[in-house]
Each structure stands twice: as structure tokens, then as C-alpha cells.
């Protein structure tokens, strides 16, 4: 092995890498919030909607879960402009991430809803709550609480797969690493450090998600 590692060039460009990491964090956090919203709506539709709505939602879920994220991004960024929907790179990335997470998360939440004892729902109906009220007040919180670990790891998977949006020139961490390594010829060093940054972000998100769990489900709530 006669290769000399030069990490100092990486440290010189650390601010740019961190700026990329920040965009990764922003994109992921926004997609997590929006995707969770999509997932909850879908989960409600699947548990209480009429048959065509349920069929539509499971079609969406199966379609997303059985195609690669990369192809989904290409469709959002390259295909949609043909029919007049033009998104910026970041917009397309966010849309693809939201739609992707929405499908996976709705499947997870549905499992949580199925774990709610029937008696709870029957009691809610007996008290005169409407379906939406039952869902909002009785079902959704304990359902999400039950499946929270699965949901959290899906969120982290989403953050990791966001590296793929570099292919449509959204300038997050991977894209910045790509352009830096091509101008400095220090590919291995840059990718090595970027991988470390992703690992740190994964651990950071894990910690943040546990904090959210504690703040939402544990504190002052006897659930």
C-alpha cells in the first residue's frame, strides 16, 4: 500500500460538508413531519374509509413499497415536468421523500391500530364519539406509541436514503462530497468522512426521536 492519506484537505472543506449535512437534516426532518401526516391520514382512510378509498390507499402503499426510491425520485424530478409539474431539485427530493415515507409509515401505523383492543373502539362508539373523534382521541396516540420503535427506525432509514437525492442535484451532504472529491481527487478521504457524518446524524436522529417519544408519550400521560 503506497497511498498516502491526506485528511487535511477534508478538514479545510469541513464547513461545506457541514452545510450539506444541514440540508440533509432539514430535508429529512421536514419529510418526517409531512410523511407522518400522510401516513396518519392514510391509516385513518384504511381503517374507516369506504372500499374505493381503502383500495386506493393500499394501491399507493404497495406501489411505493415495491419500487426503488431512486426511480421514485427520477419520476418526481424528470417525469413530472413533462406533464407540467415542475419542481426544483429540493422540492422534488422533499416530495419523493414524503410520499415514500408516507407509504412505509402508514403500513407501520396500521399495525399499531390493529393492536388496539376492540373494546376501546366499542367503548368510544358507545360514548357517542364519531369515527373521526374515535380515531383522533382514542386510537391514534396509543397506536403510534406501540409502533414507535419501528417508526423511528423507518425515519432513520429515510434520512440515510436521502443520500440518493444527490443524483438530481439537490446539494445535500452526498452531492457536496461528490463535487469536493472530484475537484480535490481525495475521493476515499471525503467519502470516509461523509460516511462518518451520516453515522453521527443517524445517532443524533435516534437520540432526538427518543427524546420526542419521552416528551410526547411518557411525560404526564398515563397511557
Amino acid at each position: 500500500m503506497n497511498y498516502v492519506f491526506q485528511f487535511n484537505v477534508v478538514w479545510e472543506h469541513l464547513p461545506e460538508l457541514l452545510a450539506g449535512a444541514l440540508l440533509t437534516i432539514q430535508l429529512s426532518a421536514t419529510a418526517m413531519a409531512l410523511g407522518l401526516g400522510v401516513a396518519i391520514v392514510c391509516a385513518y382512510g384504511q381503517s374507516a374509509g369506504p372500499r374505493p378509498v381503502r383500495a386506493l390507499i393500499s394501491g399507493y402503499v404497495e406501489l411505493i413499497r415495491n419500487t426503488p426510491f431512486l426511480v421514485q425520485i427520477f419520476i418526481f424530478y424528470f417525469s413530472l415536468p413533462v406533464i407540467g409539474i415542475r419542481l426544483t431539485a429540493n422540492g422534488a427530493a422533499l416530495a419523493a421523500m414524503t410520499i415514500n415515507l408516507g407509504a412505509y409509515a402508514s403500513e407501520i401505523i396500521r399495525a399499531g391500530i390493529e393492536a388496539i383492543p376492540r373494546g376501546q373502539v366499542e367503548a368510544a362508539r358507545a360514548l357517542g364519539l364519531k369515527p373521526l373523534q374515535t380515531f383522533r382521541l382514542i386510537i391514534i396516540f396509543p397506536a403510534i406509541k406501540t409502533v414507535y420503535p419501528a417508526l423511528a427506525s423507518q425515519f432513520i432509514l429515510l434520512m440515510l436514503s436521502s443520500s440518493v437525492v444527490s443524483t438530481i442535484s439537490a446539494v445535500e451532504l452526498t452531492a457536496i462530497t461528490n463535487s469536493l472529491q472530484s475537484t480535490t481527487f481525495r475521493s476515499f478521504e471525503f467519502y470516509f468522512v461523509a460516511t462518518g457524518l451520516y453515522l453521527a446524524m443517524a445517532l443524533g436522529f435516534k437520540a432526538a426521536l427518543s427524546t420526542i417519544y419521552w416528551a410526547v408519550f411518557q411525560r404526564g400521560r398515563a397511557a
Binding site: M1, N2, Y3, E62, L63, R65, N66, T67, P68, F69, L70, V71, Q72, F74, I75, F78, S79, L80, V82, I83, A111, G112, E114, A115, V147, I156, L160, S161, S162, S163, V164, S166, T167, T174, Q181, S187, F188, Y191, F192, A194, T195, Y198, L199, A202, L203
Partner: protein
């Protein structure tokens, strides 16, 4: 205007499918061997081995596949002075990746085997390797089939990422066709459809196997 999208272009996409499948199969076999070693070490009585394999799993599940691909691709060049074609690097990266996921899945299956099975095997004076090989692994293998099939779906989708470093499989073929025909609205949905046709049957199979195994084990599944 470029070429129009006709039968020849469609055939080009179809002919890329074997590459996607070969890559997935290769990574599944390589990752299967690696994963088995990892799973067994992960539950071994020796603490350093458990730490080592836990670290490996955390590392590969906590960083993006794309980064793993880049690090392996450029790492081979830098560390061993090997200027390799994309395919061995891609295959190696996906093998390391599936090793981590399969290792974690199979660890779960091994640990799902009730403790008395180990004790009974020990009472029969079987050595540790024999307890594992003759008593635990055959039972664990049965439980592990549905999640393993589920992982195969994940792997097929993930191999699309090889397109980014220029390996010509289905997604890359789609990109190349788009570049010559300028028909992203036709091509990417077709590519997505082809992936769907590969993944959807496997997803259904995984679901069905899971239900059957639950039924034979008498598991009352809430999810």
C-alpha cells in the same frame, strides 16, 4: 428530437433485468454466508465477538448504502491499488450491506428460540457448536424465512443505487434510454413497473409465509 420509444427500446430495458436479478442474487448469497457468520457470532458467549459484530451491524445499518458503495469503490482503488470495474466493487458493497441486515434478522430468529431448547441440548451433552447446528439453527431457519424473503425485496430495490456509479442494471438502463429518447414520462414509470413485477410477488410470498408460520407456532400476532 431523439429516438422514439418503441419495441427495441423496451427490449433494452427488459434485457437489463437479468443484471438487477444477478446482482441481487449474488449479494444475497454472499451476504447470506456473511450474515450467518455474523448472526452466530452475535449470540456467541464471547463478549468481544458480540461487540465486534454489533459494531459491524450498527455501522452498516447507520450509514447510507450509497456511501458504502463509494467507500468500497474508491477504497479498493486506494488501499489495494486495484482499479476495478464497477461490478466487483458493487457486488462486494452489496454483500457487506446484506451481511449486516441478514445477520441482524437471523440473530433475532436465533434468539426467538426458547432458552430450554439450548438447555435440553446441553443436557444431551452436545457441545456448543453442535447445540447450535443440530438444535437451534434448524428451528431458527424456519422462523427466519419470511423476513429473509422480505429483505430480498429490499435488496432488489436497493441494487438500483448501483446505477449511480455506472453499473448498467435496470435503473441505469432507464437513465440511458431517457437520455437517447427524451421520454422520461414513459420510461421511468415502465422501469418502476418492472421493479414492481419483481418485488410484488416476493412481498406477497413473505406475507403468506409469515401467516403460515404464525399459525403453526400458534402465535397470536397483533401486527
Amino acid at each position: 428530437m431523439g429516438r422514439s420509444f418503441g419495441f427495441d427500446e423496451f427490449l433494452y430495458l427488459l434485457l437489463a433485468i437479468p443484471w438487477t436479478l444477478l446482482l441481487s442474487l449474488g449479494a444475497m448469497i454472499g451476504g447470506g454466508i456473511l450474515g450467518l457468520v455474523i448472526a452466530v457470532l452475535r449470540v456467541s458467549p464471547y463478549r468481544p465477538l458480540r461487540w465486534l459484530t454489533t459494531g459491524y451491524i450498527e455501522l452498516f445499518q447507520g450509514t447510507p448504502v450509497l456511501m458504502q458503495l463509494f467507500v468500497v469503490y474508491y477504497g479498493l482503488a486506494v488501499l489495494f491499488n486495484l482499479q476495478v470495474a464497477p461490478w466487483p466493487a458493487v457486488l462486494l458493497a452489496f454483500t457487506l450491506y446484506s451481511g449486516a441486515f441478514l445477520g441482524e434478522i437471523w440473530r433475532g430468529s436465533i434468539q426467538a428460540i426458547p432458552r430450554p431448547q439450548w438447555e435440553a441440548a446441553e443436557c444431551l451433552t452436545l457441545s456448543y457448536p453442535k447445540q447450535l447446528w443440530y438444535v437451534i439453527l434448524p428451528q431458527a431457519a424456519r422462523i427466519s424465512i419470511p423476513p429473509t424473503v422480505g429483505f430480498a425485496v429490499q435488496l432488489i430495490k436497493t441494487t438500483s443505487i448501483a446505477a449511480i456509479i455506472g453499473f448498467v442494471e435496470l435503473t441505469r438502463a432507464g437513465q440511458l434510454m431517457t437520455n437517447t429518447t427524451f421520454k422520461p414520462m414513459i420510461i421511468y414509470p415502465i422501469v418502476a413497473g418492472l421493479y414492481f413485477m419483481m418485488c410484488w410477488p416476493l412481498s406477497l410470498l413473505a406475507q403468506r409465509l409469515e401467516r403460515r408460520i404464525d399459525a403453526t407456532l400458534g402465535v397470536k400476532r397483533h401486527f
